[in-house]
Symmetry: C2
Subunit: 344 residues, 2 copies
């Protein structure tokens, strides 16, 4: 386990999506965050105290979390520099990038010298098997998306919490660096060897017999030309009974791909359902989650209402409006079962 | 490069698909193969001289190729034992499994001791980037399949050869261990980190401006619950102008998944075309390749004729009947262009 409390790194990031790991911790483990570290030209804040490395260590921070990411997960020189400063100030360092902290000789030697640890959250489990797609017991929901970084993790966490509040056993299954840092465990599915994508998810969410739900965090999008393979393997491995489609209205183009527009919601949902049937023939959609954080409340409510009408599914912003309508749909029997009951 | 000539390993394999790497080398680089190594209870042969390690070394074999594979690419104890014998006899050892030869202390130390090399063909390139799906120049054909091991590599090699015989520039782009051993280069796509599947293929088959074709070896199947993620990323990265669907008639179930039947040809082709359009909007199917090696010739011809009628595409067994009909379709303008010409 990564020792809390944390200092959250923002660096110089001007990209709201680029700091999503730091933001996720600030949202879902705020009690474990003593402050944020940002350079003078960083236009973003998480609303935490801005601290230097030394100040954070003095206030008890035990780990600097390099909670920023670009496509490809590279580790730029400045991050290494700042991580070194944190180690010299007496903090461990955690990151979830493809390039590993421990592969940086300077950081490895500083950590040894100070008796501190480097945590590479994106290390996949060592003994993965290929997925098989055999039917397995348990109730599973997967969030899927029109794009990367549209709120799948937030939606999954909100759904998990809402189920628990209704007295239903529910576990969040993390598949990305932020989710893993929040949950304390999980599988960084985009970092496993390609042959093992679906197998990694079968291992993350094994058969369960207690009537509880596994809520599996989706990744990427079937429509994203960089990452669709990850999304498809995750979908097959998850073998979900229920899908929730996540989307951020108004996004100009697919994440990292200027000029490529996002898919239509209905088409995106259909393609996910079609692909999911390979391992879960009776999969059904139970809701739509929109990230409306950039919109006025009234406009957001109107947009949700319109999507509900168009798609025939509950539609909400999980943070702004909660997920009760989706939970209602999830826990009510499937339409087929209802009509059977009605006619008997 | 891996030093030829080779001794091809069959071990104790009773599984025709399990020795496909050894068979591929015996088929496509037979002049470089001095013999085969098999244990007494191995029911299979490639028709090469059966040799002990010492006999092979005496006949000039420079590398033992461990050309067998099971799902997951594990390295069983007996393979390590036999590899050690080969090193002691003076041969290098090559393998394409997920478990690496160099990670076996005994093999690593024997290789050092004898001044020999261990070749892990499944090592992905070190500096991959994520795919972008931006339109790129060049003509590309990808083979796709109803299942793993249905003849995609054979079909791709046959198509490459046939194009060259017509005077068209054509290059085989290998994506699996067997193809890489045959071609001497390539990317083992199922071994790359999941985030980089499509990017690895964009790198394998970059833009080309010489009117030549890249013929990209497909992997797995969109309908295989273990490997569909690899297949989808490969499809997006390949950005193919043309698809050829490969299939082995009569297979009882999906490779490695007893009880799971193969998809219908038309449905499989439709789903591949639909998914390919994400990065190649005008992709078209140009043919079907059936592996009829287990059938009588007449029955095979009838089956091809029936598939042609049903799917409206040239259908052939590339080894038994050649690929001329598919090349004709590939090199003739697309139907839309034809009808435009006709009406003008």
């Amino acid at each position: 386990m990564i020792p809390a409390p944390f200092l959250l790194y923002l660096g110089r990031s001007a990209d709201a999506l680029g700091i999503k790991t730091s933001r996720g911790l600030a949202e879902f483990r705020r009690e474990d965050c003593v402050g944020e570290f940002r350079h003078d030209d960083c236009p973003q804040t998480l609303g935490l105290a801005r601290l230097t490395m030394a100040e954070a260590a003095a206030r008890g921070a035990r780990t600097l979390v390099l909670g920023i990411a670009g496509a490809g997960g590279k580790l730029p020189d400045e991050l290494i520099e700042d991580a070194a400063t944190a180690l010299n100030a007496g903090m461990n360092v955690a990151a979830g990038l493809h390039e590993r902290l421990r592969d940086q000789p300077r950081l490895a030697s500083l950590a040894r010298e100070h008796g501190l640890k480097l945590f590479d959250v994106r290390d996949p489990p060592p003994d993965l098997s290929v997925g098989k797609g055999y039917p397995r017991a348990g109730r599973r929901l997967l969030t899927v998306g029109t794009d990367c970084s549209v709120g799948k993790m937030y939606a999954t966490l909100a759904l998990t919490q809402a189920l628990r509040e209704r007295g239903v056993r529910a576990d969040f299954r993390a598949t990305g660096q932020t989710g893993i840092l929040i949950a304390g465990e999980g599988v960084p599915v985009d970092a496993v060897v390609a042959d093992f994508i679906s197998g990694a998810i079968e291992q993350l969410s094994p058969a369960r017999e207690d009537d509880g739900w596994d809520l599996i965090e989706g990744q990427g999008s079937l429509f994203h030309p960089s990452f669709a393979g990850v999304s498809l393997g995750l979908l097959h491995g998850a073998q979900p009974e229920a899908l929730v489609l996540c989307h951020e209205p108004g996004r100009a183009h697919m994440r990292g791909i200027p000029g490529r527009s996002l898919p239509d919601l209905a088409e995106c949902l259909d393609r996910n359902l079609e692909a999911a049937r390979l391992t879960s023939p009776s999969v059904r959609a139970v809701g739509i989650c929109l990230n409306t954080s950039a919109m006025e409340r009234d406009a957001a409510l109107r947009l949700c209402a319109r999507a509900e009408d168009q798609l025939g599914l509950p539609c909400t912003d999980p943070i702004a409006f909660g997920v009760e309508t989706i939970i209602d749909r999830l826990l009510c029997p499937a339409p087929f079962a209802l009509s059977t009951t009605a006619s008997s």
